[in-house]
Structure formats: structure tokens, C-alpha cells
């Protein structure tokens, strides 16, 4: 049963059989989908937060620099 890949048998004969999972497809794919979404978000959201932090701090630094320059000119 199944194709041989590197000496290890795949457990499905066709792509439709893989998606159907003998009637358990909906459960398996739903569980894996939610898990993947959570994993991707857990890795991605901190990267977004970091970028937002850098941008806002840069803006603050610029504003502070401008204010300092204006203070010096009479």
C-alpha cells in the first residue's frame, strides 16, 4: 500500500485520499489549520510589534532633534 519514498511508505494512494483521510479529513485539516495559524501568528506578531516600535521611536527621536534645533535659533 502507498508509494515508497526513501524506504518509508506514504500512507495514502492519491491526493483525494489524502484530503479525505477516510472521512476524518474535516477534523484533521481543521485541527492542523488552526495550529498552523496560531504558530505563524506567534512568530509573526512579535516581528510586527518590533517594527512598529522602531518606527515610533525613530519618529520621536526626529521630533526631539527638530525641537532642539528650533530652540537654538533665536
Amino acid at each position: 500500500m502507498g508509494q515508497k519514498v526513501g524506504g518509508c511508505a506514504m500512507k495514502f494512494d492519491s491526493l483525494p485520499a489524502f484530503f479525505a483521510m477516510d472521512g476524518h479529513g474535516a477534523y484533521v485539516w481543521l485541527a492542523y489549520g488552526i495550529t498552523l495559524l496560531a504558530i505563524v501568528l506567534s512568530l509573526w506578531l512579535p516581528a510586527l510589534t518590533r517594527r512598529a516600535f522602531v518606527q515610533s521611536e525613530k519618529r520621536l527621536a526626529q521630533r526631539a532633534a527638530v525641537a532642539e534645533n528650533e530652540g537654538e535659533t533665536p
Binding site: 488552526i34 518590533r50 516600535f53
Partner: protein
Amino acid sequence: MLKWFHRLGSPKTFFELSAKWHPWLLALSMLSLTSGIIWALLFVPPDYQQGNSVRIMYIHVPAAILAQSGYMMMAGAAAVFLIWRMKLADMAVAAIAPLGAAMTFLALVTGAIWGKPTWGTWWVWDARLTSTLVLFFLYVGMIALRSALDRQATAGRACAILALVGVVNLPIIKYSVEWWFTLHQPASFSLTEKPAMPAEMWMPLLFMVIAYYLFFVTALLSRLRNEILNRERDTEWVRKWVAAQ
């Protein structure tokens, strides 16, 4: 050793060192998660009773393990913060809570989805399920408590105490399947005994547990680094770091 501990406890040193670890950990966790998922979906044999729904085990069990392990890490960091007043430890407590909540959420949701074809129901008020739900509320409580308190020092202490009090829930989760055996099966996997399943099933499971640990540490590091930046934003070194970005 103690010196090293002190050095690493400085947010600046930790931030600089972790910048080197993070890309490697990220690559390693992505690689192991991808291969583990392919293994679990394509190459693991279906269970003779559960059929293909047993593939959910490979994401459910690691999530449940990390949900509890994450709590242990958080409580450990809380203890370090209370005893040694290490700022970095409090930042770790703050960084772990949302990740632990995510892992507990995944354990509950994948468990419900696995329960439907296997037990015939999404949810029962079984002891294991209920105590895991309590764990989820503990994590959410940690997040809420921190955001409710304005003063950093007060928030840190309150969260550390809540984290330590919540530790009583961990043995309840662990022994729930023995004390009040209802529907959830006892552990089929332990450090001391031979696994109660064939190697072609427990090997990918062990692999996925390791992959989840790698993922957890990677995500935790990202969050902790953000936490450090946020709290040290007024220091010279963060300003320099921002300017260099």
C-alpha cells in the same frame, strides 16, 4: 556560573546575545515543525481504532505539554523575580503568558476536534479538560492583571504571586486522569516507562514535542526582546540600537 547568571540577567547583554541565537532557533524550529507535520500527516500509520483522526495527536499532545511546561517556565521566572529582583525575569513572565495561553488554547481546540470523531462529543466536563480550561484562565488572568496595573513594580509583583499560586493547578492536571478517571485517557507517554505504542507512532510524536519546544523558545525570545526594548526605551543603548535599524 553565578557571574554568568548575573551577566545574562542584564537586559542589554541578553538582548545582544539573543540577537545571535534567534535566527538559528527560528530556522531550526521552522525546519523541525515542517518535517514533523509532513511525517505526521503522510507517513504515520492510521490507528486501528481511530483511523486517520489519530494524526491530530501529533499536534494535540505537544500543545498540551507546552501549555503546562510554559506555565512551569513562567512560575520559575516569577520565583526568580521575587527572590532576586531580576528585571529580566519579570519581563520573561510577561512574555510567556500570551504564548502559554496560545498553547493551552491549541490543546483545548485540537482536543475538542479530536474528541468529536473519537468520543462522539466536542466537550465534556472531564477532570483533565476542566483543569486545562482553568490553566487557560490562569494565563488570561496573568495578561489581564498586568494590563490592569499601571505601576510596573506593582504589576510585576502581583503577576509573580499569581503565577506561583497557579502552580497548584499543574499537579491537578497531571493526576486528573488518575484521580477522577472519566473520559480522557491516562498518559501513554512518560519519561520512565516504555511507550504504550509502536515506535512508528511515538517517534514522530517525540519529534513533534521537540519541534514545539523549539518553536516555543523562538517565539518567547522574540517576545522577550520586544519586552526589553519597550521597558528600556529611555536608555542610551536602546536609542543607539533604534538609530542603527
